[in-house]
């Protein structure tokens, strides 16, 4: 194989385009980086090529010959190997079985598993990776995270005797769970794979890695292709510029009211779970943005204020009291939380808007529920958040994503919050609802409610925040004023391993 072309890839989810007519040419023997912010369409692209998700439009050509990729089996037959971001191993099975999962096991008497041959094949794959230290007979669940990742990569390296040698390896954030030394081994493997004549599509947020091991780079933004260039002929700045685009002319509301004098929360040298060095003072009405790569500790930080997670050193004061003992106490004290996964963590989808809105506030009604009063209150709150709905008894599951998110805001507003914790408040929300949610956040802040806003949406962060806290692998790497901070500055701080 010389050249693999992925032409005109498009995919929409429920009318919202995730990938718009993206074309990518990969060359044998070259490592091609795919970059973009969260939500730029990288994962969607990988899922289409892997045959996991059906494309709306896609043409795949190898050396000019069209290939049909409709299922994962098609992709495998075409010689594509994909290492997805999520660690999907089966913890109960041995390492050897994990490596050869989904393939017919070698047999004895065509009935019994030939364990020795199975283990030998797994060992060969691991040794190719330079991971010969992993014992193939232990249960995969007993391995440390890095070794699990190596196991998964080894699984992608296995080639059955009757299979064509793989022509494309796709690695999605493979180093996220690896130590520096393990990453080095992986880079070595990638070099050997491409030297054997395979193309590699490498997805990573880590700019240093990309600059070092990749030959070409393609940048996506909002589902569309932005640029493709050889690494040697581009620069970090150009790539960051490509990822962020022009963010200045966003519609996020600017601040009109001054920040309050009173103090809403103080963290002094807090460490908890993965978090370290958390240090800030939050004023009433202030909006503190929290930025970082995915899984840099944003959830942990917000949940700390809900009383989930234990402070192991330093101290935390929230609304003049020590951190709450748990969500029950947090809501009672006027701390409201809009979690990241609204369907999994936020809503009872089968229940009514009224129930979902008032769940934390049922204590206001004493022992007996008062449907009429609750319905009135729900209507008032729904108006406040501009909910589009049929009535308070409509199940939340029937609402659009934006309106579901507004129900969570209605729930937060109902408690007259003094501290509002937001995590990705406008993810998967249409433009109109996004603007309305931003107006709500501004409004609450103007009334003196302090806000901690964790988001991967840079224009949202820059448009709303007064200050920005940057997390890197759980550590507070910087706390900077919004004033005078450009999107490129912010990105540079998020991406750089050691921000100033």
């Amino acid at each position: 194989m010389e050249r693999l072309s992925l032409i005109g890839l498009s995919k929409s989810y429920g009318g919202v385009p995730a990938l718009r007519d993206v074309t990518l040419h990969l060359t044998a023997g070259r490592v091609h980086a795919l970059m973009g912010e969260n939500g730029a369409g990288k994962s969607t692209l990988i899922k289409l090529v892997a045959g996991v998700v059906r494309a709306d439009t896609m043409r795949v050509e190898r050396d000019g010959t069209a290939l049909t990729i409709a299922t994962a089996a098609d992709a495998r037959r075409a010689g594509f190997r994909v290492i997805h971001q999520e660690l999907n191993i089966v913890p109960q099975l041995s390492v050897a079985e994990n490596i050869l999962l989904g393939r017919p096991s070698p047999r004895r008497l065509s009935l019994l598993v030939d364990w020795r041959r199975l283990q030998d094949r797994a060992r060969v794959a691991l040794e190719f990776m330079g991971a010969g230290h992993i014992d193939v007979t232990v249960q995969a669940g007993d391995l440390p995270t890095g070794d699990r990742m190596l196991t998964r990569i080894a699984a992608a390296l296995v080639v059955d005797a009757d299979e064509a040698p793989p022509c494309l390896y796709i690695l999605d954030e493979p180093t996220a769970a690896l130590t520096a030394a393990e990453s080095e081994k992986l880079f070595d493997v990638i070099a050997r794979l491409s030297a054997r004549g395979a193309a590699v599509l490498y997805v990573s947020h880590r700019m240093d890695e990309v600059m070092r091991i990749c030959d070409d780079v393609t940048v996506l933004r909002d589902g569309a292709h932005v640029m493709t260039a050889p690494i040697a002929k581009t620069s970090r700045e150009a790539i960051i510029q490509g990822m962020t685009g022009h963010l200045g002319n966003d519609t996020v509301l600017p601040r009109h009211t001054p920040i309050g004098k009173g103090i809403a929360a103080v963290a002094v040298g807090v460490a908890a779970n993965r978090l370290r060095d958390i240090d800030f003072t939050l004023k009433q009405g202030e909006i503190l943005g929290v930025a970082g790569l995915e899984e840099a500790g944003q959830s942990d930080l917000l949940r700390l204020f809900m009383g989930l997670g234990r402070v192991t050193s330093g101290h935390l004061k929230v609304l003049d009291d020590p951190a709450p003992s748990g969500p029950v106490q947090a809501w009672a004290r006027g701390i409201a939380y809009v979690p990241r996964e609204r369907r999994a963590e936020g809503l009872m989808l089968g229940m009514t808007i009224r129930d979902n809105t008032l769940i934390p506030h049922l204590g206001d009604y004493g022992i007996f529920a008062r449907k009429a009063a609750e319905t009135d209150r729900t209507r008032g709150l729904a108006d406040q958040v501009r909910l589009r709905f049929r009535g308070p008894d409509q199940p939340v599951g029937q609402l659009s994503g934006g309106n579901q998110q507004k129900v969570l805001f209605a729930r937060a507003l109902a408690g007259k919050p003094r501290l509002l914790l937001l995590e990705e408040p406008t993810r998967g929300v249409d433009v109109g609802a996004r603007a309305e949610i931003h107006a709500l956040i501004r409004g609450l802040s103007a009334e003196g409610c302090a806000v901690i806003l964790a988001s991967s949406d840079l224009s949202e962060l820059l448009g709303l925040s007064d200050r920005l806290l940057i997390l890197q692998q759980g550590r507070q790497a910087a706390l900077v004023d919004r004033e005078g901070l450009s999107p490129a500055d912010l990105l540079a701080r998020i991406y750089s391993p050691k921000a100033a």
Binding site: M306, P327, V328, A330, W331, A332, Y337, P339, A344, E345, G346, L347, M348, L349, G350, M351, D355, I359, P360, L362, G363, Y365, G366, I367, F368, A369, P395, R411
Partner: protein
């Protein structure tokens, strides 16, 4: 429309069953006396199923209700046998039920064991305890005071030949209490929220653990009430007499769940489930259908109803 058809399917099934027996047994089935009989026969199952609904609302369930009921009956009978007054035996039995339920609740909510495994374990424990304190014997005859066994034989005399059994009244009272608790208190609303999405409920400030604990206690209390009714009805207590209640109670709630808009348990729907099981049992017995065949039929109806409902849900 399809949703309504699916939801009302179980109710239509109940009416069809009643119609079937009314035609097959024209002289005996639809008489006041027989219907009052049915209501008494199902009263113990009803109480167990109504209170089982409380934990099932949260997505949990309790396999130990049958042995809790037996244990409660034995506890009362053992006290009666050693000369304690009726009221003290009754209170002790109810306390046993609450204690058993709390134990289940601690295992499920605080230790974090799956309800299936936790209550399977306590089922055996409670059953063993019942054998232990009764010495494996049935307590009956003079040991059971007449005022205790008299309860099951008493009733509210309405008209000539129409006496509503006290057992039926007791079940109706439990139904009313559970209905108010689940549908009209903030407590019940919180239980439904836990059943709707336990993680979201916790993040929304619901005290999930304490509520699960208390709900299991209520289910245990209900099982103890059923156990006392059983002991009163047969004027005796043995360590296994109520063990059949558990499967029927869960089946009744499942039948009821086919009527929920989102497949959630509702206590009035559980009543429909109890009626289906009770009327089938009564009618088939009157038609002299072999009791083994009866079991096959009842099991098949439960499976069919739930299968139709989940198939319908996928399509809607």
């Amino acid at each position: 429309m399809l949703t309504h058809l699916r939801q009302s399917g179980t109710l239509v099934g109940l009416l069809a069953i009643i119609l079937f027996f009314a035609v097959q047994l024209p002289d005996t089935f639809l008489t006041a006396q027989n219907l009052l009989n049915v209501s008494q026969q199902i009263s113990m199952l009803a109480v167990t199923a109504f209170t089982m609904t409380i934990v099932m609302v949260m997505g949990d369930f309790d396999l130990s209700v049958g042995s809790t009921a037996s244990l409660a009956g034995i506890a009362a009978a053992v006290l009666f046998a050693s000369g304690w007054p009726v009221w003290s035996g009754v209170i002790a039995a109810l306390a046993v039920g609450i204690a058993g339920g709390l134990f289940n609740g601690v295992l499920v909510a605080y230790v974090g064991i799956l309800p299936f495994i936790a209550t399977l374990g306590t089922l055996t424990m409670f059953s063993g305890t019942a054998f232990l304190i009764s010495d494996g014997k049935t307590i009956f005859g003079r040991d059971i005071p007449a005022e205790f066994s008299g309860f099951a034989r008493s009733g509210l005399h309405l008209a000539e030949g129409v006496t509503v059994p006290s057992m039926t009244i007791a079940a109706a009272l439990v139904l009313a209490v559970v209905f108010v608790v689940l549908e009209h208190t903030t407590y019940g609303r919180r239980l439904y929220a836990i059943g709707g999405n336990i993680q979201a409920a916790e993040l929304a400030g619901i005290n999930v653990r304490r509520l699960r604990l208390s709900a299991f206690a209520l289910t245990g209390l209900g099982a103890a009430v059923a156990g006392l009714m059983y002991a009163s009805r047969v004027a005796s207590a043995n360590p296994t007499q109520a063990s059949g209640l558990m499967l029927d109670a869960i089946a009744a709630v499942f039948l009821g769940m086919t009527m929920g808009r989102q497949g959630e348990p509702r206590v009035m729907a559980t009543l429909v489930g109890v009626l289906i099981l009770g009327i089938l049992d009564n009618g088939l017995t009157q038609m002299n259908v072999d009791s083994y065949v009866r079991e096959i039929l009842i099991g098949a109806i439960v499976v069919a109803a739930v299968a139709v409902s989940s198939y319908g849900r996928k399509r809607v």
